[in-house]
Symmetry: C2
Subunit: 228 residues, 2 copies
DNA sequence: CGTGCGTTTGATTGGTCTCAAAGTCTGTGG
DNA sequence: CCACAGACTTTGAGACCAATCAAACGCACG
């Protein structure tokens, strides 16, 4: 089903990462991962790692998108986060992952051996600080997302669209890589409510939905008002 | 209003922390903070730090309890976490706090200069790893809490009671330090729903509520079933 | 013994879920 | 190129749960 092997696209570049780090600003410090990682190709809905598995690798999205999630006993799924091109995930401090991860669409991921980063962090405090900063950013993102989860359906969807637009670096039109079910599980709603809410936002003129994956932010003011 | 100055109870112990760290297991590594910190006393609902303020200190609860929270434009408040005796908070990697923090009840906090920890982390990779681990634990806690926020009122309250009992190290009786409003803002519900749900759980025999702050877990099995 | 805050209880409303069915898109094979 | 199957999305009707508005209750405090 979701199990789908990835194919190696390029070999590692052993490199001398220390130099490149020294002056790297934290923002794009993840660029250093390039020198340590391998590119791999994944199909749609492919498993990247499972909850409880050892944390052997760290990933950066090159193209496509990924999601991390947890599943409740009753089968409900909560998506913790989506990861878009350029973003890093899978960096747990613990020995095992506490979320599962899958691709949302056909994707290319940069895969980096966690041990390589950890040993680097032991001698290079900038690397250690990067690990901390990446986890802290993740924490901040999840805390912000919690604020979204306590709001109304309209507000959640508006927040989601604005978040995606910002993270994809676009102003007024987003090409969503994920399905309605993914959005629903991310926002704590049902697919029907997602669909109805989009229709509703379209009827008020806030957005346009030319195709179900493409959404035009027609009135950012109105969306921002819901964003609060 | 909430502003309330804290009183210093003891002086810093400059100390030689390096030795103590070397072999310290990560679990109680925060014990090292003792050697760097100062004890301060706070009143009820006292502000500890505000969102956006510089991250000058890290805190550990000695007695009492604290909460971190964010406020929406419409005034709604989401409590990110409660901190009980022994727990650490305020450790943001960024230069400014992205949550506000207040005491829940009269409390004594161990206050540690962040810069002292950071400079230690530059030379001592165990300290750096501790910073990372503490933030990662926080991330894990918030992710788990997200799962709670997508559930029914009964389930949320049951999860909350079990969580508090476990963190307070008690088996079947919890003395809640926080008000109904705090619980509501933590669980994304209203005070009325909290109250009704507790009454409901009491009527089914799952709990007893002798006083409004004291709750007896009468049937953990039933609560665990809701915990899922 | 009031006073005020926090909590509980009640009645009603409204938003989201659930169940159900119709509609749309995509990829596949003839 | 078209027809078809399957998955995904949209729309509809009704039920249910939690929010809201309102009032009574209990407890700590002066």
């Amino acid at each position: 089903m979701l199990m789908q092997n990835a194919q190696t696209l390029s070999a590692t570049h052993p490199a001398k990462p220390l130099d490149r780090w020294a002056a790297a600003p934290l923002g794009d410090a993840a660029a250093v991962l390039d020198t340590l990682g391998v590119r791999m190709s994944y199909g749609r809905n492919a498993e990247i790692f499972g909850e409880g598995e050892p944390t052997a690798y760290v990933y950066r999205v090159v193209s496509g998108a990924a999601r991390t999630y947890k599943v409740l006993d009753d089968g409900r799924r909560q998506i913790s986060a989506f990861y878009l091109p350029g973003e890093v995930f899978g960096l747990d401090a613990a020995e095992t992952h506490h979320c599962s991860a899958e691709t949302v669409a056909r994707s290319v991921l940069l895969v980096v051996k966690r041990s390589a980063i950890l040993s680097l962090a032991e001698t290079e405090h900038r690397t250690a600080h990067l690990l901390w900063a990446l986890t802290a950013r993740e924490l901040q993102r999840v805390q912000t997302h919690m604020l979204v989860l306590i709001r109304s359906a309209q507000e959640r969807v508006a927040c989601f669209l604005l978040e995606m637009a910002e993270r994809m670096g676009v102003v007024d039109q987003v090409e969503l890589p994920m399905s309605r079910q993914d959005i629903a599980d991310y926002l704590g709603l049902t697919i029907e409510t997602i669909s109805r809410t989009l229709t509703q936002l379209e009827s008020t003129g806030a957005i346009l939905v030319p195709t179900c994956r493409r959404i035009v932010l027609r009135d950012r003011r109105a969306l921002k008002r819901l964003h609060a």
